[in-house]
Amino acid sequence: MLTDSNTMASPVLPPPRSETGVVGRMRANLFNSRFNSAMTVLAVIVIALALWFGLGWILVDADWTVISTLGGRMIIGQYNIEAACPGQNCFWRPQAGLLLVTLVLGMAWQVAGGGVTKRIALAVAGVAAAFAFLPYAFSQMGLDVRLLLLANLPALAVGWSLARYTKLGTASWTAILSVTAFVLTLVLLRGIPGVPFLQPVSVIFWGGIMLNLMLAVAGIGLSFPIGIALALGRRSELQVLKLLCIVFIETFRGVPLITLLFMSQVLVPLAFPEDFPQNSLMRAAIVITLFSSAYMAENIRGGLQSLHPGQAEAARALGLPGWQTMLFISLPQAIRNVIPPIVGQFISLFKDTSLVYIIGMLDVVEISRAFIQGNPEFLANAKELFIFLALVFWVFTYGMSYVSRRVEQHLGVGER
């Protein structure tokens, strides 16, 4: 009886109030020891002071007009100045390129069936369209510019419908069309001699964030396959091939990119015959791609090393030839294992595109610096400009790492 009453008398009690809810969580996380409480108080004071002065500076003291003064030059550089495009207004060409991009993004959205692709597509088209409603710098942005920006929304819809209602709605078509869109954008920007409304624009006038993005896209698209090839070469049993790959990788990894870029301007022109078609932007793109693929190769090699040899052995035992084993068994798993470092390399490639200043290209960072140097009245506002630039880069890079996390979730890394 006694035992019975004991068990009867103790129903499951809820945890004490001090252990649950906001108070409980704060006790457990912020005030669980004397030292921790002191740290919390200190951190709160520091953060509060930083917010107080930071917000005060951002809202009251900072003069953000430097950004609107620079305006569109941060986006397309000097592409639309008179010297670049004499007698014509060339502003529509980068805009048409952007429209092509949103079109392909719309297709990708439909093909991927929503998810992270949908968010990217909506974000790109939405931001582009939102630019049309910018209140300031009316003088710089005519109605035509604003309408072309707004056209990104219908372009997205057209792309989506193309994928939905025609036979183009497959992953391979989207891939082919995105490469086509990139090449078309390049052709649009470069111009075609002889075509009246597409007069050539020298690459020295390309600039702004447009230049950074194009270098990054080309670099990412090309350095990935080259990196895989180099990684396979370095693991190959063919000694000559292996040696060549090692020399290539270690040389490019041992020297700063800025040195390579600089030398690509001084030395590479000498290494080709004088009539060889080349320009500074092309050389920069090639150097950035090769530099990045050397790092990419090491990441992928790490991924290949992390695979159990049993995987390849099993594939060979099932009768797959060597190249199919590599392509369908080893590489997919290896790449899946090293998604974070690969995306990290993509991010640093994007950040490294700001180094083209060394060859005199006016990317978004260099055009800002040159603007400050040319307009000393804005010297005191350089802080604002570079904080803004930092935020712009941060949005892109953080977006990339967000996508990588989603892809990893999708592929179930760490679960299988």
Partner: protein
């Protein structure tokens, strides 16, 4: 025909389907292709040199450089040779790299530990720091710091802290030891080196005794005491024997009508911006490496350490960290290399590092030779860093203890 096929076959497999033959032929072909390509480049460069009358060779190295270098840690004047100027520039890069590596390691470990704190606010603050600094191009950060430094007041209106520290747009001036008597200074430095070695010997001997017998010994305190006392005695002896101490503290002082600071050590604005930028940027990567390393140590290790009564700090220092180091060191080495290479951005904010000086040199010297030298210099630095790092790595690996 069948006879020919038989000659070209091995065990019934024709030569064009023999794996070894294919491999060898393709290897030789690719090797030849690369050699031909490289040779073609060199022929083209040679032609260009002849046609356009471009200087070449390494004869320029003994010529006078005749260009000023902004900052230099070694003595330098414009009449020095190209070779010496190159060394001066390389020293600038090396000094920045060493200071940067030390500071970035300290800050990175601090932020990494904060990131793992159980305190929500501190962990999130560290996360914001990491996510911000490593996602923004270093160049943007450098420009930001550079313009902050430039926005400091001019020399005459600069900040002065207790007549010893001067902060203005020319840089930061601090008191710095200056050599009083060269002979005495060298003697004392040599003695100090011996003192450090002796202190280390005492420390390791006491540690070994403690490990073997269990007798507690304050090995660290004794080691430091040994080194410090020998150093101090030598200092006193030298001061008494000669006139004045081997080193004196040189105080920065404003001079003349423009208030230019002389004496002490002045770190120019470009160098400060470069250091702040490099350190905060690299620290954000190091913090993540530290976190990954510490998290790779099993929870059981920490729990066991706490269960036997070690404090949280002691657990981190004596149990978690030594084990985490094995995971931390290899990626840390590559971060150090990255810092060294990233210091080549210095040119953008007016610090005379190796790349910046070499870039200026190409205006008066053959670019091909400069390119070879600069490649060699950076590769040598990278290899030295890797070598030191790998030696340390071997020291802390499992089998070493």
């Amino acid at each position: 025909m069948p006879t020919l096929l038989r000659y070209l076959s091995y065990q019934g497999v024709p030569i064009w389907r023999n794996v070894y033959a294919i491999q060898w032929v393709s290897q030789i072909a690719s090797g030849i292709l690369v050699v031909v390509l490289v040779a073609w480049f060199f022929v083209n460069i040679g032609n260009a040199i002849q046609e356009r009358d471009i200087p070449y060779g390494f004869g320029f190295l003994s010529r006078e450089y005749q260009t000023p270098i902004g900052q230099h840690f070694l003595d330098y004047k414009s009449s020095d040779t190209f070779l010496y100027a190159f060394v001066v520039a390389a020293t600038n890069t090396i000094v920045i790299s060493i200071i940067g590596v030390a500071l970035a390691t300290a800050l990175g470990i601090f932020v990494g530990v904060c990131r793992m704190s159980s305190n929500w606010i501190i962990a999130k603050a560290a996360l914001v720091y990491i996510e911000f600094f490593r996602n923004v191009p270093l160049l943007v950060q450098l420009f930001f710091w550079f313009y902050i430094v430039l926005a400091l007041p001019p020399v005459r209106e600069g900040y002065v802290i207790s007549q010893r520290f001067y902060i203005n747009n020319a840089g930061i001036s601090v008191p710095w030891p200056a050599v009083n008597d060269a002979g005495m200074a060298v003697t004392w430095l040599l003695t100090a080196a011996v003192a450090v070695v002796l202190g280390w010997a005492v420390h390791s001997r006491l540690t070994r005794r403690e490990r073997n017998t269990g007798t507690p010994s304050n090995s660290q305190a004794w080691g430091i005491a040994t080194a410090a006392s020998i150093g101090a005695v030598a200092w006193l002896a030298l001061s008494v024997a000669g006139d004045g101490s081997p080193f004196v503290i040189s105080q920065p002082e404003p001079q003349g009508t423009f208030g230019r600071i002389s004496g002490g050590f002045t770190a120019p604005g470009g160098m400060i911006a470069l250091l702040i930028g490099l350190v905060t940027y690299t620290a954000s990567f190091i913090a993540e490496i530290v976190r990954a390393g510490v998290q790779s140590v099993g929870r059981g290790q920490t729990e066991a350490a706490r269960a036997v009564g070690l404090s949280a700090l002691s657990t981190l220092r004596n149990v978690t960290f030594p084990q985490a180091l094995r995971v931390i060191v290899p990626p840390m080495i590559s971060q150090y290399l990255n810092l060294t290479k990233n210091s080549s951005l210095a040119g953008a904010i007016g610090y005379s590092d190796l790349t910046n000086v070499a870039k200026t040199m190409t205006q008066t010297a053959p670019a091909v030779s400069i390119f070879i030298m600069i490649m060699a210099a950076y590769l040598a630095m990278s290899l030295t860093f890797s070598l030191i790092g790998n030696l340390y790595n071997r020291h802390i690996r499992f089998n070493a203890s």
